[in-house]
């Protein structure tokens, strides 16, 4: 319903805005077209069905979904905390929690070593007391991906929480609902589009994660070699295969981004809480 209405309403943009927008679209589209142009279509299927490609893809999907889940479980409370609780140094905490977005991922990987590696601040105790090590394990991949992906969810959800009319929450409280009930039944449904948008952004970031993963978790087929790592290494010896693998990764993310958007954001197109839409 909202679809037909959107199509029916014609908006004319000023020519310069339109021109700049077209340039922006080309800027994103051309590299993709370049990949499609160079792709070795006749061998594509053989490359894709090679066992190590499928192994990397499976690992990528599993790890990125875990990273998304962890980002939601820890990120929503963090966003809620940042949006609702006034305390001195809040902007410092917020900057700290989104720092990994601007940190070069390789540096992030090294920093994770210093924290969680075998000789790290905390990692040494994990090693000594529990004989548990994160580097070179699949869990290490999930940690690296969560580290770089969670901020995308946090800032999206926090923005939505800030824009939410707090009187609705107050009303719920006045009517006798507990804080937890209000959060679950009033706040969460209201921010759902932003939550989904944030989760999708975090997932996409985790799926494409390269630097922190290869630094912190290393690269071993079946354990830590995710698709971006496989693509990078294939570039060394077989650029054609690298292109095919990259296109597969792009196709999957593209399908999810387009699919989810229509399904989840269609209704809330004009809502100010949606960041992605």
């Amino acid at each position: 319903m909202s679809r037909s209405r959107r199509r029916g309403r014609r908006v004319t943009l000023p020519a310069p805005v339109l021109a700049l927008a077209v340039v922006a679209v080309l800027f994103f589209a051309l590299p993709l077209v370049g990949l499609l142009w160079r792709a070795p279509w006749s061998d594509a299927w053989a490359y894709l069905t090679e066992e190590h490609a499928l192994t990397a893809l499976r690992l990528s999907l599993i790890c990125s979904l875990w990273a998304t889940l962890l980002s939601v479980v820890f990120g929503v409370p963090l966003a809620w905390f940042l949006a609702r609780v006034e305390f001195p140094g809040r902007s410092v905490v917020r900057a700290l929690c989104t720092l990994s977005m601007v940190l070069p991922p390789v540096v992030g990987g090294v920093a994770l070593f210093f924290a969680l590696g075998r000789r790290g601040l905390m990692g040494q105790y994990l090693d000594r007391w529990f004989d548990f090590r994160l580097p070179f394990t699949t869990a290490g991949v999930v940690v690296a991906q969560t580290f770089v992906a969670m901020p995308f969810l946090v800032i999206t959800v926090e923005a939505a929480l800030r824009q939410l009319d707090q009187r609705v929450e107050d009303a719920s409280r006045t009517l006798g609902a507990s804080r937890w009930y209000t959060f679950r039944r009033v706040t969460l449904p209201a921010i759902r589009p932003a939550l989904v948008a944030g989760a999708v952004l975090a997932w996409a970031r985790a799926l494409g994660e390269f630097g922190a993963t290869i630094t912190f978790a290393g690269n071993f087929p079946g354990t830590t070699q995710t698709m971006p790592l496989a693509v990078y290494l294939a570039l060394e010896t077989n650029p054609e295969q690298a292109i095919v693998l990259a296109l597969l990764l792009i196709a999957i993310s593209f399908a999810v981004l387009v699919g989810l958007r229509d399904r989840w954001f269609g209704r809330s197109d004009r809502s100010s809480t949606t960041v992605l839409a």
């Binding site: 090294v110 070593f113 590696g117 075998r118 000789r119 580097p135 070179f136 290869i214 630094t215 978790a217 290393g218 690269n219 071993f220 087929p221 830590t224 070699q225 790592l229 990078y232 290494l233 294939a234 570039l235 060394e236 010896t237 650029p239």
Partner: protein, 221 residues
């Protein structure tokens, strides 16, 4: 004049570049260091390189096969491999055979890059089955995993052990199972300054250039 050189040459070529400009005050050498395979790809895509120095013959062949060289490749240095361990060799590793211990965290390069191919050759020659925990994308990543203490041992170039200083120690790999990596150098086809490029190559091959290379652990060709 721009020199594209393999990442393992970073320190040595930086010093050679400095000495070269001291000898030739009018010349200016700028460097781009990366994996040899990446550099070949960049040159193929039209990157402005005058000289290409590779860490293996295979990538130089990729360059010459594409016709992107204007001088015959010339081997200017060799490098052998070594086991890199933590300072003081805490795990008491004496040779390649010890790396088969499953309790050790061993990392090597991925088979896609030269140092990974060499490591596999060494394990094969030694008849040792090693289960590495990670196949790193380049030799510097192997070295940093060992110097950070996350890995117990790694197979790297002798020059990487020299470069790590007191942050790591080296365990020799005997010559009969070791690999001698050859480093070839050539002027590129698109060289904007072919004369300067040849002068730089001559300097690398001169006694002074060779002395600098030796100080970083490289062996003579």
């Amino acid at each position: 004049m721009t020199v594209f050189a393999a990442a393992s040459l970073t320190a040595a070529f930086t010093e050679i570049g400095f000495a070269f400009t001291v000898e030739n005050p009018n010349a200016k050498a700028t460097f781009s260091f990366a994996a040899s395979s990446e550099l070949v790809t960049q040159i193929g895509e039209g990157a402005p390189a005058d000289v290409f120095a590779s860490a293996d013959m295979g990538n130089m062949t990729r360059l010459t096969d594409a016709g992107n060289n204007s001088s015959e490749p010339q081997v200017f240095a060799t490098n052998s491999l070594e086991i890199m361990v933590g300072p003081g060799n805490p795990k008491g590793i004496t040779g390649v055979a010890d790396l088969a211990d499953e309790d050790l965290i061993v990392v090597i390069c991925a088979p896609e890059v030269p140092c990974g191919k060499y490591a596999a050759q060494i394990f094969e020659s030694a008849g040792v089955m090693v289960a590495p925990k990670s196949l790193e994308e380049n030799v510097k990543a192997v070295a940093s995993k060992v110097t950070l203490g996350e890995a117990d041992a790694g197979i790297v170039y002798k020059t990487d052990v020299t470069a790590a200083g007191d942050k790591a120690a080296g365990v020799e790999i005997p010559a009969d199972i070791n690999v001698l990596a050859k480093y070839p150098i050539a002027v590129t086809r698109e060289a904007a300054n072919a004369e300067g490029a040849q002068a730089f190559i001559d300097f690398v091959n001169s006694a002074q250039g060779q002395k600098i290379l030796a100080s970083y652990g490289f062996l003579a060709p």
